[in-house]
Symmetry: C2
Subunit: 166 residues, 2 copies
């Protein structure tokens, strides 16, 4: 069964989720952040079926998070390198990791911790407001229609309701 | 085909990804943050197949992100309310939303913006280091074995390699 596509929804969460698919993709990205670059290494580290890995790497290259570069010409062999877009995805994984550490880890604590070279601390990620740097919590936040919201949808009653437009 | 389970991996990203599954789950959570509580509302807003929604809501209740509460006894009807664990997931969605706004949105800009009541600004989320509050970027961060990493795995060569243990 073809999975539902969220790529055309006017929502950056839906679009990101569409790109991530079923869970292997964020783990392939995680491996890239651990320094993994080659198909066989991804395959070995994740124990991912080869055809699944081929599919996920192709998607990540198509979407511009990884770029494929030849590192050996005889026979042709490729590495998958993080682009700026891919590298910026680190924040999403760091936020997931923090949430998981807090709510899913056992009594011993976080399985993996982040070391931040900038301040030389063992630390974790926090999601804050870019304007005031206070934590971005659901109870202090609301969603509003942004400049990229499709004009033709704005007048729909359910959209007005969703964004509590007066 | 049963999908791969990442729940037992010693990694909070893998465990979070396992919980999210195929993409519908974060969108169900998104709806909860928009104030949606009832089955038919989730179904209507997302256009999600009813059996898929049943499955995702059950998982979110089992995992403690939502709680099911009866709001009408005749016939019995239930609402799905965010728990503290569920509410804290907002940060992950906000980080996804920011990444999507930056890298997937069209020329018009973000489809949806966050308004932060704390500072009364239209803003976006940023993922920072909890220690120094500087951005948590891949190039400044490295992963280290945490207190919850399984003892029996630490001596394995691939684990030593992964965490660059000397």
């Amino acid at each position: 069964m073809r999975r539902a596509s969220f790529a055309d929804w006017p929502c950056s969460i839906a679009q990101t989720v569409d790109l991530l698919g079923d869970g292997w993709t964020p783990l392939v990205m995680r491996e890239a952040f651990y320094g993994i670059r080659r198909f066989d290494e991804f395959q070995h580290e994740l124990g991912i079926p080869r055809n699944t890995l081929t599919d996920r790497l192709r998607r990540l290259v198509d979407e511009g998070l990884l770029e494929k570069e030849m590192y050996d010409g005889q026979p042709r062999r490729y590495e998958y390198l993080l682009t700026d877009k891919g590298r910026d995805f680190f924040g999403v994984l760091a936020a997931m990791s923090r949430w998981g550490d807090r709510w899913l880890a056992g009594d011993d604590g976080a399985p993996v911790i982040l070391h931040h070279a900038t301040c030389a601390q063992d630390t974790h990620a926090e999601v804050v407001c870019a304007a005031c740097m206070e934590p971005m919590r659901a109870e202090d936040s609301s969603m509003r229609i942004g400049p990229g919201y499709p004009e033709r949808l704005k007048s729909r009653p359910e959209v007005q309701r969703r964004f509590a437009i007066d």
